[in-house]
Symmetry: C3
Subunit: 472 residues, 3 copies
């Protein structure tokens, strides 16, 4: 229980020869700028550059990864400061923070623990381990720090050495905050990403409303399927004009089977008329639209990211009480090979097209995703996502994917965070894990150290820049 600090060798393999190599490799990548091509930080927050709020507001309440761990042990969402739909939580924020610190042990062995430790020690200078006893002192120290100007988002952006950061924006966004950032000289550093899910999945309760927003933003009348495609095209063009590199697609399945035009038009017309389509019809339309999005990407060069396999808002009680995205999204087994065949047959060798594939089903790495990325020029294998963005998850990914896909068919590291302050921790951890994996290859004489030193830099910096370069 000595002073809390970060060990310089953390997350490296323990075996001394391997660790020594890992140290040297990590030193090559350690200070590279951060390239953060997929995240959920809001452009508005960067544009406004306000203070972050109190410690519970920054670290606890908005982090559904963290909150769900306390929920899993019986602490209700509202006691963690999460607002019920329609009513703000009455929880005192200092109490929320105390509850989190008292339950620090729940995070043992998790990446949340790893990231928070990095943030609290490295960024905020905390020197005591969270506990019931230390909760108040840490709260006060953090609270004071967060009130200083250096701890607003733009100074931290500089301090974190972030070269470029992509946000995730709905298809109907007017990108006003991105334009504001451009006018302030931040246009190269903060890029939008086109996320059309809310207008592609016909079974969403807010679908009709979202179509209205899309019509409004695009200025294209959406009276039928042709208008719908035109509106999507118009908004994609706006995103391209504002620096977007990529689109992002969250689908339940990876299916990409195109429907014939008349079937798609008819499904769209029925949905627009307010009819409720059945599950098979909505799924077929989603798969069809994934194919259309690939078609448009082959036209406008936006890199297509696919994140399938999460059954969203799994608990209808939690959703009813607290709303969507409260940590109750559960993965399912995900099929890629057959599902992607229509899309890859059409665009997989097209130099104007690029697709980055993510998964929550790690069995797909060696079985389907590495073979696909190791064959099709258009495909890059994305970094481990969500639950798999963890020390052992990232290690297993490299072990499962590299032997078939090599390193150069992967995207390099991609974080997927909405917690801005965790970005350096996540990139640092990825660099350490990749250094450790490469060190093992070197120690086992499967790779020379000069080669590994090149790879560790590519994975951290060059590959994500290349993978997300818009295809011209």
């Amino acid at each position: 229980m000595s002073t809390w600090s970060l060990n310089p060798d953390r997350a490296f393999p323990a075996e001394p020869t391997t660790r020594a190599i890992a140290r040297r490799l990590y030193a090559e990548a350690k200070d590279l700028p951060i390239v953060s091509m997929h995240g959920h930080v809001e452009a508005e927050d960067i544009a406004r550059n306000e203070h972050f709020g109190d410690p519970a507001e920054l670290f606890v309440i908005p982090d559904h990864y963290l909150v769900r761990m306390l929920v899993s042990q019986g602490v209700p969402h509202d006691r963690m400061g999460v607002s019920r739909a329609g009513a703000a939580s009455a929880a005192d924020h200092r109490e929320v923070w105390r509850r989190f610190c008292e339950n620090w042990k729940l995070f043992r062995g998790t990446p949340t623990r790893y990231w928070l430790e990095h943030e609290l020690v490295e960024i905020f200078g905390i020197t005591q381990r969270p506990s019931a006893e230390t909760a108040d002192a840490i709260y006060d120290e953090l609270d004071a720090t967060l009130k200083t100007d250096e701890f607003r988002i733009r100074p931290l952006f500089d301090r974190f050495n972030i070269e470029v950061l992509s946000t995730t924006d709905p298809a109907w966004s007017t990108l006003e905050f991105h334009r504001q950032l451009q006018s302030e000289g931040w246009g190269e550093r903060v890029l939008p990403t086109f996320r059309p899910d809310p207008v592609l999945h016909l079974n969403r309760t807010d679908w009709a409303e979202n179509i209205g927003r899309l019509q409004q933003a695009s200025g294209v009348e959406i009276g039928d399927y042709a208008g719908y495609l035109a509106a999507l095209r118009a908004q994609r063009a706006r995103f391209v004009a504002n620096g977007a590199r990529a689109t992002d697609h969250g689908h339940l399945l990876a299916d990409t089977t195109p429907l014939d035009e008349s079937t798609a038009s008819a499904l769209f017309a029925r949905a627009l008329a307010g009819e409720t389509l059945d599950a098979a019809e909505t799924q077929a339309f989603s798969g069809h639209m994934l194919f259309q999005m690939a078609q448009m990407s082959a036209e406008d060069g936006l890199v297509m990211q696919l994140h399938p396999g999460s059954l969203r808002d799994y608990s209808s009680n939690v959703q009813a009480e607290y709303g969507a995205d409260k940590g109750f999204d559960i993965p399912i087994a995900t099929e890629y090979t057959r599902s992607l065949r229509p899309l890859l047959d059409a665009f997989g060798s097209d130099p104007a097209f690029r697709m980055i594939l993510f998964t929550l089903d790690e069995t797909a790495f060696s079985r389907e995703l590495a073979p696909l990325a190791g064959a099709f020029p258009a495909v890059r294998l994305g970094a481990p996502w969500w639950f798999l963005d963890s020390p052992d998850g990232m290690r297993r990914f490299r072990e499962a994917a590299t032997e078939t896909a090599g390193f150069y068919n992967t995207s390099g590291f991609v974080d997927d965070t909405r917690a801005f302050a965790s970005i350096p921790a996540r990139h640092d951890l990825a660099r350490r894990i990749d250094a450790g994996y490469l060190a093992r290859l070197v120690a086992e004489h499967r790779l020379e150290e000069d080669e590994a030193a090149e790879v560790v830099v590519d994975l951290a910096y060059n590959l994500p820049l290349a993978a997300y370069a818009r295809r011209d």
Copy 2:
């Protein structure tokens, strides 16, 4: 080929720094009492406290894990002493033991080898490795030992430091042996577990007979579906009154979709009338009853254990010749996320309900089970089961599950044995593997050693006691 002995560092990682930490952690857990909350030792055997029989009867013949390994190499079941249906095996037990010793090499690298080595050396003091040459001498030594009073089940129960052991009992049990044990002061040490599978799966050939047994035991007339539920409730109440903590459910699928009352009633009525239902109907009824069992658990507080995904009695020849459960049960890919949704939506956040999930499909650990256990307060993730209850199986489980679920959403160690003498070996191995996994986290500076020392004790002792505490 020196004297056979157990190395004190067995099953620890080889890397010296990690091993040294593992030793220290293991020392914390080594001598803790055994909490054995799920097993297949018979209460009758403990109540009678008779001698175990000869070495073949104790170690070989009843252990279908062990027998199937010789069968897989062409030795027929009956030559290993397994009785054909309707006719006792004529195999000489000394010959059976010889055949096992001659084939000792088949078990290299398996947990059966590890457990037997522990048992023979540590419990029975054998100092020679099994082989054709040593078979007779070992047989004689074991046979003599087994005739002594210290090697009956109750003295061993004390010697093994078993604090509490749960048996598995059919839904129609009158629990007479548990009551006998209570009257002898063993009531806190041996607990029943309610296992209703034989009356829930309508396609079992003995289903009608089992319903008769349930009616007889419960004293509730089972003329229809309502009577059936009432009889189940009555027997559950009897189990609760006799100290039961849990129920146990072996289903082919994890499906928990409830039927409407009238459909369930009609299916039950048809089965009771002797009609053969088709596979879809029997599966639907099994899934429906899993939901009903959860409902009853939420009422009476019995912890619900689910063990899905084994295709039982896979070989119809082996089953026809030797009967059920002869080592020919083969796992299938198992879906949890969608299957459990009805049950978890209804009871997953109910403080009166607890569910412990097991799997033979280890791909579900990171993909489905850890996310479920890391979100729902009612869910705990059970220890690796059956084929996965092995050194590398347990290690992979911790690596796959911890980063998402943490340690405190797992059940701690649960053995699943019918071989009483293997209980200490299994718990000792689990403590060693957990110590080794935690030691790696410490060596990689992902956890402090004082935290790991707390966790290793929790996994061995506190967590299973907490996970199986009846919900009041």
Copy 3:
């Protein structure tokens, strides 16, 4: 960038104690003869014993594993010397070689890199790492070497210490080159393998043509289903008479459900009449024929190899332009337990029958394949196949399968190559990985070193010989 050489400790674990044990174990297996029971080297090439051609012709152009890696980075097949259907590639072979050397970094971390390094250094004496700068010098050196007589296939066969090698031959082969080899005293060293896929899958575009070939070769008129079975039996007998040990079956699914005779006859008659059957019908016929092949194996003793789960010729563009088997075969999730039940129920305990199971879906190792191999006397678990025949793939296989199946229900090492010069590299790597895995068991005191020394020899030599011994 010093002189290129092979480290004697390559592919061993880095931890010093474990590595020292691995060295000792590897020394036991290192110089054993090579037993290569499943490969795609052509008997014709061995019979003719001509020179291999230039470096691009030997190492690059025919290796679709290697070519697809450059294709995945945007280099078209024809620039790598692959001929378009109907037109030879115009690519200059020295240019092809340069392109490969320039892209050497793409192979970092892959088994292709490992094998090529072994071949170039150990067999061909190259001392410079491939790169843009060294490409021409290496090309010249290799080209000169390949023109010498010692580098024709038969002297290399001797130098590689290959005791026996099985080829893969279509069901209609007359085995003329095998007979030539027999007449030259090579009959014990080169054996045929019966591969009937092209006449079993009714949806192949060349199916009717292949039936014609089968009729021609067998001399049995194929006018109906009975004639078809008779022709297959006649050709199997020819293979047996010419030393075949095994059959080989590449199916999309592992399904083995037999149809009734009249259904099978009718499907066959319709296909023979030129009718196009639907996907379900052709799949049903393929599954039915797998059962028939098992029946025939139980009669003639040919060991049955099953390689399911690859979706062949995934890219219709690549197939249309370049033909089949161009590195665009992508694995799918593969079910074994239910699929194999009909076959195993009929033949799984038949002493006259042997089946060796392979997979591209490594999740099946612990879940389905090890439990099946650990129960049925007829089943052996094949070595990691294709994408999984790699350092980490082989290690994961041992870790996933051994604890349930042991070592003695596996086939020992089986390479699956068409690249003759890579055979020693592949066997050497397998011996290293098995030595490393066994060394870990010894270092963790889960196995004695004398036992491990026996196992490492069995895996490399005795087990493949035993697994592929025809069942008499």
